[in-house]
Symmetry: C2
Subunit: 253 residues, 2 copies
């Protein structure tokens, strides 16, 4: 199974390394910036290009570019009867409809940073396919990369992606907010790191609603009032405090 | 060092077990509800009471009750020259001023659930003391319970507590929100659990602002618009989406 990657960002990088580990050769890597294509190609023994017309035939084309870039790739003839997948949680499978014959989605539900190693076998892969031919190839590829493969349609995948924004992106912002509050008082963020770990560990075996702690769920109004006063200089955080505390109170009743 | 615990909730339970593990005997456990006092007392070989007048002398009294309950404990004579500490992040040390001679704070910066085992040696303990005598005792006690002991004054501790509400309580609410969104579409929360783990792991060695991902930091407006439409039936979550996305955008510029 020869694989070509369209894109060289975080997701493309982790998929390329996971393919290499699974014994799947990467043939070519395309990036708008040739230096980016080359940097990743060198790591996985592929060739690099920034020119769509230089793309060679392959069995699978994996598209990991910005969501807006997925729709208008000028590679219909190159892909031909081969399979093309995108890796976006937010983009429906129909983005490829009418342009390709055998297409689908391979969405890794994880947050990727280029510099962090990750065990790709533990990453849930949400797959979808336009037909049985595509499904067969995508299932085989996904199974070689991860132990957790889920067949998920576009509507459910968009819900997953939205939920992931809350569970990951917004959560990371709350970490940033807490680090900022500490920094103002010259307190070390290390003080909070064990708490952050344990908060995430707790929900690995529990429903989050069952392990909610803190002043809002306890109804500790005097602490909440004092906290809100402390956020006088941070109107955005103050509004979040109000909003999330109200939501916690309303779900806990 | 003989220890008596005022309270039998999550924090009291974990402190009692940590004391036992550290070879520090618990003499008595007080709880308003005798059955709660007895349940914990049985686990750690202490005696139980729900009557303040039955409290016997001890070297240290650890107060783990609701924040509002800390102020008016009728145990001034029983404590005498011994040391009394509370375990609240939100309550200043001055709550004990004028009532006791040797007092302070022992604030474990962690989220506790009764049913979860925790390695108390990894829990950051923030201590504060009214004088050198109290400090000596509290430092000795804290050092026996944890490897991370920080001397933190009341003002800084309140900042820590506020930051912990963001990093833990509010984060857990975001997990709850994401689980709720999945449940509506009959999707399994297991799909998100690896993402939640990795999001917390990432900031163990990085500054959270440096590892922010997602549509808001990428400026992916079309995805954000679609997400907001998907939240039509969830006005509280929709408002959070607006607010946190705006905050991510403003910190990323």
């Amino acid at each position: 199974m020869e694989i070509t990657l369209i894109g060289s960002g975080n997701v493309a990088t982790h998929i390329a390394k996971a393919c290499l580990k699974a014994g799947l050769p990467i043939k070519q890597i395309w990036s708008r910036t040739i230096a980016h294509a080359e940097a990743l190609a060198n790591q996985v023994g592929a060739s690099a290009t920034s020119d769509f017309s230089e793309l060679l035939p392959a069995d699978v084309f994996i598209v990991s570019v910005n969501d807006d870039g997925i729709a208008n790739l000028p590679i219909t003839d190159t892909v031909g009867h081969s399979v093309i997948v995108h890796t976006s949680g937010a983009t429906p499978i129909s983005v490829f409809s009418g342009k390709f014959e055998n297409y689908g989605v391979l969405y890794p539900l994880q947050t990727f940073s280029k510099s962090r190693e990750i065990d790709f076998r533990e990453v849930p892969l949400c797959i979808e396919a336009s037909n049985e031919t595509a499904l067969h190839v995508i299932e085989e590829l996904a199974g070689k990369l991860s132990d957790s493969v889920y067949l998920i349609n576009s509507e459910s995948r968009q819900t997953l992606h939205l939920a992931a924004v809350f569970a990951c992106n917004f959560t990371n912002f709350l970490y940033t907010a807490s680090a900022g509050l500490l920094a103002e008082k010259y307190l070390n963020f290390d003080l909070l790191r064990p708490l952050i770990s344990e908060t995430a560990r707790k929900v690995q075996n529990a429903e989050p609603a069952d392990v909610q702690t803190g002043p809002a769920v306890r109804g500790d109004e005097s602490t909440m009032e004092r906290h809100i006063k402390m956020l006088d200089a941070h109107p955005q955080l103050r509004e979040m405090y109000h909003l999330i505390s109200a939501a916690i109170k309303s779900t806990s009743v």
